[in-house]
Amino acid sequence: MIVDSYRFLPRSFRPMYEGRGPLPGEDAPVWAQFEKRLAASRIALLTSAGIYVKASQASFDVEREQREPEWGDPSWRSIPSNVQAADLEVAHLHISHDDIRSDPEVALPMRTLDELVSEHMVGSATAEHLSVMGYQDRSLEDWRQKTAPQLVDWLRGQQADGIILAPA
């Protein structure tokens, strides 16, 4: 079967996404073969659901987005893999938060990854995972200049061999 990419999108929004092609300057393939065995690899997760730790981290800046509807917070949070679901909150103005609050695994499956590690399908998981807020400035300038390089440095620091990017 072929997934219908627009099944849950309001019909009037479809032209904003369909047939837009690559971003300027991003036509060329970017590719790196995954060299190691999965069972010997360290894996990180990234969600764009705007999850953060209530007690110790600032919310993504939804107040500025309310004032500037075309802006989205380009910052990121690292989420400890042993955090309790009740300690997490969601800041994302484009999706309902209900199901992510009740079970964060729907967006950031840290427990599920730990299970796959315990079964030796995956070598190990990073001690923390990543969260960003998926609604971004259309030019992605902050992402190109700051966020993406910071995330790459962070992943290298965690000695991650691969990352699963999960859009919200």
């Binding site: 079967m1 072929i2 997934v3 219908d4 990419s5 627009y6 099944r7 849950f8 999108l9 996404y17 047939g19 837009r20 092609g21 690559p22 971003l23 991003e26 036509d27 060329a28 393939p29 970017v30 590719w31 073969q33 995954f34 190691k36 065995r37 999965l38 690899s41 894996i43 969600t47 659901a49 987005e65 309310q66 509807p69 075309e70 994302h92 103005l93 484009h94 999706i95 309902s96 938060h97 199901d99 992510i100 009740s102 079970d103 695994e105 729907v106 967006a107 499956p109 599920t112 990854l113 299970e115 796959l116 399908m121 995956v122 609604y135 691969g162 699963i164 999960a166 859009p167 919200a168």
Partner: protein, 96 residues
């Protein structure tokens, strides 16, 4: 979630899922579904042999479309949607 868009934007490896926004790994509480999606994503990460590999996950969202379509949306429209709706309303009310 929108694998056709990921392909257009040149993502190197893609797992397509036909799930509502905010639910990349499935229904709340459905550990088996979370596991199936994550395991597939890991296999595509480690096993894809060429740029542009796309594997679609053959599971239908177990909620009627009308209900699922409403459930993923926030209680209040996002600021950009509010702005677009307001622009549309103005255009419609302006005599041509």
């Amino acid at each position: 979630m929108m694998p056709a868009v990921a392909e257009e934007r040149r993502a190197p490896r893609i797992v397509g899922i036909e799930f509502p926004y905010g639910h990349a790994f499935g229904m709340p509480g459905d550990k088996d579904m979370h596991r199936q999606v994550l395991a597939l994503a890991l296999r595509v990460l480690a096993g894809a042999s060429a740029f542009g590999t796309r594997i679609d996950f053959d599971i239908e969202w177990p909620v009627p479309l009308r209900d699922a379509y409403k459930a993923w949306q926030p209680a209040e429209p996002s600021p950009i949607v509010r702005k677009l709706l307001s622009t549309l309303a103005r255009e419609r009310s302006t005599p041509s």
